[in-house]
Amino acid sequence: MAAPVRAALMITCLGDMLFPEVGVAMVRLLRRLGVQVEFPQGQTCCGMPLFNSGYHHDAALVAARTVKLFEGAEHVVVPSGSCAWMVRTEYPGLLKHDPALRAAADALARRTRELSQFIVEVLGVTTIESAFKGRVTYHDSCHLLRGLGESASPRALLRAVPGVELVELPGADECCGFGGSFSVRLPEVSSSILDKKLANVESTGARCLVACDAGCLMQMGGGLSRRGSAVKAVHLAQVLDGEIEG
C-alpha cells in the first residue's frame, strides 16, 4: 500500500482566531480522505496584511519565518485562497535576496494549495460524501479566483455532495469588500460593497453561503448576522465535513 499523503495545515491567523471550527472540520475531512495531517507549531500570519499595505521588508520577515516552519511538510494545505496566493505568488519575490530562503520559498510555493485545489489536484478526489443538506450558493474569493485561477474545484466538490443544491450567486466573482486593511481604512465603502453582495446572496434563497477564504467569511458572515439574515456563511470544509453546528 502506498504511503499516505502527508499534509501540513496552515491554519492562517484569521482561521485560528475566528474560525476554529473550520480548522476542526478540515482536519476531520482530510483524515477521512486518508491524509496524514500535521500541524507545525508556532504559526502566525502569512504576512499578507503587511505586504498589501506596502510594508514589504516586514512582510519578508514574516514570510521567512513561515517558510522555515513549513520546510519539512510534504504538502501544505490552506483554508484561505488569499493566504495560499500569498505563499505561492509573493513569497519567492519577497525572499529573493537570500538564495537559500528563495529556494525554500519556491519549494514551498510548489507544495502549497488552497483546500479545494488540494483535494482535487493533489488527492485527485472530486466526490466527497457528506451529510450536509440544503441549498447553498458559492462566493468566489478574489485571490482564489483571479490570483490562483480557481473557480471550478469548489463548485465541483459542492455539486458532488448528494444533499447539496448549488445555486449560482449573481455577481459571484465580485469582491465582498473585505480587502484586509481596506475594510478598516474605508469602512463605509467596504460595507456598501458588502450590502450589494449580501442582497445578491439573499436573492438566491440559499441556506448557506459557501466560500474558501476566512477574510471573506468574516466580512460576509458578520454582515449577514448584523442584518439578521437566516443565511449562514460557512467554509467549504464545513459543508464537505458535514458536521455543521447550528
Partner: protein, 464 residues
C-alpha cells in the same frame, strides 16, 4: 480639480458619494451595463485574448524606443503639412493652444472629448483668455453645462441620471424637456450644430497616433469628432506622448480590442483617421493642423514602477468593474483620472504625495487587471505604490507603528511568547479551537474543561 474638494479627506469624499442617491442609481445602471456589454463582446471573440497579449507587447516595445517613434511621427505629420509642438509641462501645452488662439484670432473652439485636455485644465485657460470652449461630446456637453468635471474616462456624465439631465437642459437651454435620452440628444444636437459652424478652432485628443503614416486616430461614437476635425479652419490635437504606435498594422490590433473593452462594441461608430490639414483640391478639412505632444511627467516614468500605466488605452473598463469606483463614482477620487488606473496616473502626473490616501482605495480584488485590454497589473502596481509611499515616509506615523508592531508579533517567536504569557492577549477562540484539533497534545474532543489547551499557533504556553 478644485483644491477645496481635495482638502476634504478621501474617506469623507467617498462617504458623501455613498449618500448621494442619484449617483448611486446612475452608477449601478451604467457600470452594470458596461460590464455585461464587455463580457458578451469578448465571449463571442475568441481571438481577443491573443490580441490583448499582442497589444500589450506593442505598447511594451514602443515605450522602449519612444523617442524614435515620436520623431518619426513628427516628421510624417510635418511632411503632410501639419505643425508639431512638444510640451514638457501642462503649462507649456496650454500656452501653445492660447498662443495659437491669439495669433489666429480664435474666439470659439469646439472640442471633441479628450482626457488630455482635462488633464491640463484647458477649458479654464481658454475661458480665462476670452476664448469660448464648447464641448461637443454629449456627456462632456452635459457636464460643461453643469459646470462639473468628467467622472468617468469614457462616460463623463455617468454620474447623472436622465432625469437630472432633463432638468439641466430645461434650465440651461430654456425649454421643457422630457427625461427621454432620444429627445435630450436631439436638443443637444440642435444646440451644438451652430457651434460647429461658428467655431474657429477644433480641439481633439488622440486615441492613437501612427508613426509610420503621421495619422492621428480618434475613436468616437457620436460623429462630433468628425465635425470638430473638419469644419473649423484650425484643428489642434493634443496627445500624451505614450499614445504613439509604430504602424497601421498595430492600429488594427488596438482597434479590435479598444471598443470591446470600453462599450462592448466591435468598433466604435466612428473611427476617424486624420492626416494633416486639407490638401490642394480637397473639399473639406482644416486649413491648419497642429499636433501637441504632451509629456507632463510621462517620460520620466518609463523606467519607474509605474511604467505599465503608460500602456493605458483609456477604455475605462477597469473603472466599471472596480467595486470601489462602482460605489463612489469618479468625482470622489478628486483628480482628472478616476478609478484604479486613475490612482496610478495621478501618482504619475502629480507625484506619490497626492495619492497617499488614494493608493489604498482598492481592495486589491484584481477585477481591473482581468479586464484591462493591455493587462496592466493594477493591483500589483498599487501595492508597489504603497511600498513607495512607506519608503518616502509619506504614510501616517501611527499606521507605520501598527504595522511594525504586527511584524514583530508575527515574525519573531520571542514576541509571540511574550504575548502569549499575558492571558489578556490570548484570543479566546484559540483556546476553544485547540482542544478540538485532535493533534499531538489532544486530551479529549471536549477538553475545554481541562485547563489551558495547546494553541494551534503555539502561542498558548500555560501561565507559569
Amino acid at each position: 480639480m478644485s483644491d477645496a474638494l481635495l482638502r476634504t479627506p478621501f474617506p469623507e469624499r467617498a462617504g458623501a458619494a455613498l449618500k448621494d442617491t442619484f449617483l448611486q442609481e446612475a452608477l449601478k445602471i451604467a457600470t452594470t451595463k458596461f460590464i455585461d456589454l464587455r463580457r458578451e463582446s469578448f465571449a463571442g471573440f475568441p481571438q481577443g485574448e491573443a490580441l490583448r497579449d499582442r497589444a500589450r507587447a506593442i505598447k511594451e516595445a514602443t515605450l522602449q524606443h519612444l523617442d524614435v517613434h515620436l520623431e518619426r511621427l513628427a516628421d510624417n505629420v510635418e511632411r503632410l503639412g501639419g505643425h508639431v509642438h512638444w510640451a514638457t509641462t501642462a503649462e507649456e501645452a496650454r500656452e501653445m493652444v492660447l498662443r495659437l488662439c491669439r495669433d489666429r484670432g480664435v474666439r470659439m473652439a469646439v472640442k471633441s472629448k479628450s482626457m488630455a485636455t482635462e488633464e491640463i485644465d484647458l477649458n479654464e485657460a481658454l475661458e480665462h483668455a476670452g476664448v469660448t470652449p464648447v464641448e461637443t461630446d454629449l456627456g462632456e456637453y452635459i457636464i460643461q453645462l453643469a459646470h462639473e468635471k468628467p467622472s468617468h474616462i469614457i462616460a463623463p456624465a455617468i454620474h447623472k441620471t436622465k432625469g437630472q439631465v432633463a432638468e439641466l437642459f430645461s434650465r440651461e437651454l430654456k425649454g421643457s424637456f422630457e427625461a427621454d435620452p432620444e429627445i435630450l440628444t436631439a436638443v443637444a444636437r440642435k444646440a451644438l450644430r451652430e457651434k460647429f459652424l461658428q467655431a474657429d478652432m477644433g480641439i481633439t485628443g488622440a486615441n492613437f497616433a501612427v508613426a509610420e503614416t503621421g495619422t492621428v486616430v480618434l475613436v468616437t461614437n457620436e460623429g462630433n469628432g468628425r465635425m470638430v476635425t473638419s469644419l473649423p479652419r484650425i484643428h489642434v490635437a493634443l496627445m500624451g506622448v505614450e499614445k504613439v504606435i509604430p504602424s497601421m498594422t498595430d492600429l488594427m490590433v488596438f482597434l479590435a480590442i479598444l471598443a470591446r473593452s470600453a462599450t462592448g462594441q466591435k468598433l466604435s461608430s466612428y473611427t476617424t483617421l486624420v492626416r494633416g490639414p486639407r490638401r490642394a483640391g480637397e473639399l473639406e478639412g482644416p486649413e491648419e493642423f497642429h499636433l501637441i505632444l504632451l509629456d507632463n511627467g510621462r517620460s520620466r516614468q518609463i523606467a519607474s514602477t509605474l511604467r505599465e500605466a503608460l500602456y493605458c488605452l483609456r477604455c475605462g473598463a477597469c473603472l466599471n468593474v472596480c467595486p470601489v469606483y462602482r460605489q463612489i463614482g469618479g468625482h470622489a477620487y478628486g483628480y482628472t483620472y478616476p478609478g484604479p488606473i486613475g490612482i496610478l496616473l495621478t501618482a504619475m502626473l502629480k507625484g506619490n504625495e497626492s495619492v497617499r490616501e488614494l493608493a489604498h482605495a482598492s481592495s486589491l480584488c484584481g477585477a481591473c487587471k482581468d479586464v484591462c485590454p493591455v493587462r496592466i497589473d493594477i493591483p500589483r502596481m498599487l501595492v508597489d505604490l504603497r511600498q513607495q509611499i512607506d519608503k518616502e515616509n509619506l504614510a501616517p506615523a501611527g499606521e507605520r507603528l501598527v504595522f511594525r508592531a504586527a511584524r514583530r508579533l508575527w515574525a519573531h517567536q520571542d514576541a509571540q511568547r511574550a504575548c502569549a504569557r499575558s492571558p489578556r492577549t490570548q484570543p479566546p477562540q484559540v483556546q476553544r479551537f485547540a482542544p478540538a484539533l485532535p493533534l499531538r497534545r489532544r486530551t479529549s474532543r471536549q477538553g475545554r474543561s481541562k485547563g489551558p489547551a495547546p494553541s494551534t499557533t503555539g502561542t498558548n504556553r500555560s501561565p507559569r
